[in-house]
Symmetry: C2
Subunit: 408 residues, 2 copies
């Protein structure tokens, strides 16, 4: 709660649970104090059939969850000899003495199922609260406690919690979620193009969501129950008809994933010359496994000298039009294509800001150049944002120009 740590559990668990047909209704974070933890668990048990807690199972003095929950539910804590043995083995394998205090992690509330932790010492715990004292009718609830470190929590969820949920909590199945990712069109235009046309399906139970990211808008179609597949299929057809070429990918696709996929399929290659994006396009492309077969080379040519010497941009061009200009973008793309022999060469030159702008070329101005086997084209864009957003938005526009060129 001091903002020193990013919570990635919410996204990861919500995603896995949604895939199982179980949509999470509420996520709560509280401080490591007995009062706050207890109140949050009570409230969750009063609301839901499944409550998952993360963290607070370790050996240090701020790990309170196991004890508090046992007390709340009137369960004795019993030492589990198999866990004691696991902890000993864990430290011995690492040639370390078992620290005193780690033994509390072997305490298990009576009746709880132990979820093994091959990647750490604290096991997970699962128990059914039945009758549930926090609901008016006493409806049963499952309470699952998982350790905090992601590399312990995630395998434990996959290996132990998923089978448990499938056995004990047959979840409302038939939940389908489909994401279509668009670029080059704003959120309100997306809605204008599809909102009205999807109204009938929304009235029949389609859940329609929009998510605007830098230079991109995701359209999320979700539905539940027997007619879900039909609803989603019909909705997707409408969205595709309306948004057409603006849709660059599905689900987790990024523009760079799509570009690497297209180039790999076509056995074609790419080279980059980046000024104001400063290596971001190369970084994004090389995040994609298999990029090495596609990306021949990248240049980060921030300085004019580097543009001239490494890419062969002509001195007259720089003098007459400036480094941030359409002719420079074209010569950068042409130069890097000649240098590397790549099929496609993409260039970017612009003013990231905060400083460096002028009245006719304010900060946020950029030119994108693209040299292909048949032509060299250029595009002027304007992204008057903070430095990092400017880089992301410009990189998106460059990758989108490339994607459309590859597709012809």
């Amino acid at each position: 709660m001091l903002g020193r740590l990013l919570n990635t559990h919410q996204q990861w668990l919500c995603r896995r649970l949604a895939d199982l047909g179980c949509v999470v209704t509420r996520q709560v974070t509280v401080a490591d104090t007995a009062h706050d933890i207890e109140q949050a668990v009570r409230e969750a048990l009063s609301r839901a059939e499944l409550v998952i807690t993360t963290g607070g199972l370790g050996p240090t003095s701020d790990d309170l969850t196991r004890d508090l929950i046992a007390k709340m539910l009137n369960r004795r804590l019993v030492e589990d000899s198999a866990i004691v043995a696991h902890i000993k083995k864990f430290f011995t394998a690492r040639k370390r003495v078992v620290p005193p205090g780690t033994r509390v992690q072997a305490l298990v509330p009576e009746g709880a199922t132990v979820l093994p932790n091959p990647n750490g010492t604290a096991p997970g715990l699962a128990l059914v609260v039945n009758p549930n004292p926090f609901r008016s009718e006493g409806q049963a609830a499952w309470l699952v406690m998982l350790p905090g470190p992601p590399r312990e929590l995630r395998p434990m969820f996959n290996d132990s919690v998923v089978p448990l949920l499938k056995e004990k909590l047959p979840l409302a199945g038939g939940f389908i979620c489909r994401t279509l990712r668009t670029t080059g069109v704003g959120e309100s235009i997306v809605q204008e193009k599809i909102g009205e046309r999807l109204r009938r399906l929304v009235e029949s139970g389609l859940d329609l969501g929009y998510c605007a990211r830098v230079g991109q808008v995701d359209v999320r179609l979700a539905a539940r129950g027997a007619n879900a597949p039909g609803l989603i299929r019909e909705a997707e057809a409408i969205v595709r008809r309306q948004l057409g070429a603006h849709i660059f990918g599905e689900e987790n696709d990024e523009l760079e994933t799509v570009v690497v996929r297209l180039l790999t399929e076509r056995k074609q290659t790419l080279a980059l010359a980046e000024s104001c994006t400063g290596g971001l396009i190369a970084h994004r492309v090389t995040n994609v496994p298999g990029a090495s077969a596609v990306l021949l080379a990248g240049f980060v040519t921030y300085a004019n000298d580097a543009k001239a010497k490494l890419l062969g941009v002509r001195g007259e061009t720089l003098a007459a039009h400036g480094a941030v200009s359409e002719p420079t973008a074209r010569e950068m793309a042409g130069g890097v294509r000649r240098q590397t022999g790549a099929d496609y060469a993409l260039s970017v030159t612009g003013i990231a800001g905060p400083s460096g702008g002028s009245p006719e070329k304010p900060a946020g101005t950029a030119f994108i150049g693209l040299a292909t086997p048949t032509e060299t084209i250029a595009l002027k864009v304007f992204n008057p944002y903070d430095r990092e957003t400017f880089k992301q938005a410009t990189a998106n526009q460059a990758l989108e120009l490339l994607r459309r060129a590859i597709l012809g």
Copy 2:
């Protein structure tokens, strides 16, 4: 709640609020449904003197927050002509027609303060709920509504919410938080070196926290009250004595910030030759304003051909030792330094994985080369992680090698 989006608001807002002396007690995420949003806001108002909501202020049909809150609090929504003008100007500046439907963003609940949004169309809103119908004694609460996109929310918080809170909600002061950032040493070693020596100060009220990130460990020292400055000063002195050169920065410093600062002070320049980090180092360096005065050029030489042709790595070196080797790293650094005339040239070559490893050079192996005005050195590292973590960890080690070299 479907796990399609990572929530970064919690960390960012908690951090900023803690810095203001206001520790957040609870963070809640709910789905975009009227019932869930309303329940969450009611509960928050029943608990706290300050409630901040994020998201749900946009123009699409799933943006419900403004309307719901006005209804809950019995406030009429009134169109604000200044916001209408701002929205028109926003679209005109982008040479786009104002989409119908964006106008709902100009609706303001009676009595609310408008928080301007220079980076988007939806303004933020702040209002005081007094008397507060959700608390037994009717104690007043502030309710602040912020837009969802981080690049709109963050400047709005800094520019409009912070002054408002300082004026309207004099916060429990005297909270001090100091972060010292280390690299090249694991979390348990950090704790071993300082934990025992800080025990006395912890007993006097020092809050000591560790946060492990990729290749870095932050030490967080916090205290509250009259003796906080003394406690923090004494604790910082101990941490600095014990961890010495491992401390690369403070607060929000990143390795690239520190490196650009050191080079700028010394009027020295940098060039990069990246293979397995694929432009990430260039991207990180160019995220720092002012990097253009320091970074002469960067090369992303994924392919062997590019290493040979662009950097002058010798064919014999590649044949005898392979692309991932100490001699190649040295020749890459030397080559890019000659090519660009930079004072420092940093190179990286390695195997990001998942494929491409061998028994003697498994995926995760990398060599870092550094050519300085006086010598060329190389370092072998091993980061057997997923692709993106590998790139981050290797980039950190390269930047740290450079930092130490600059400092001599």
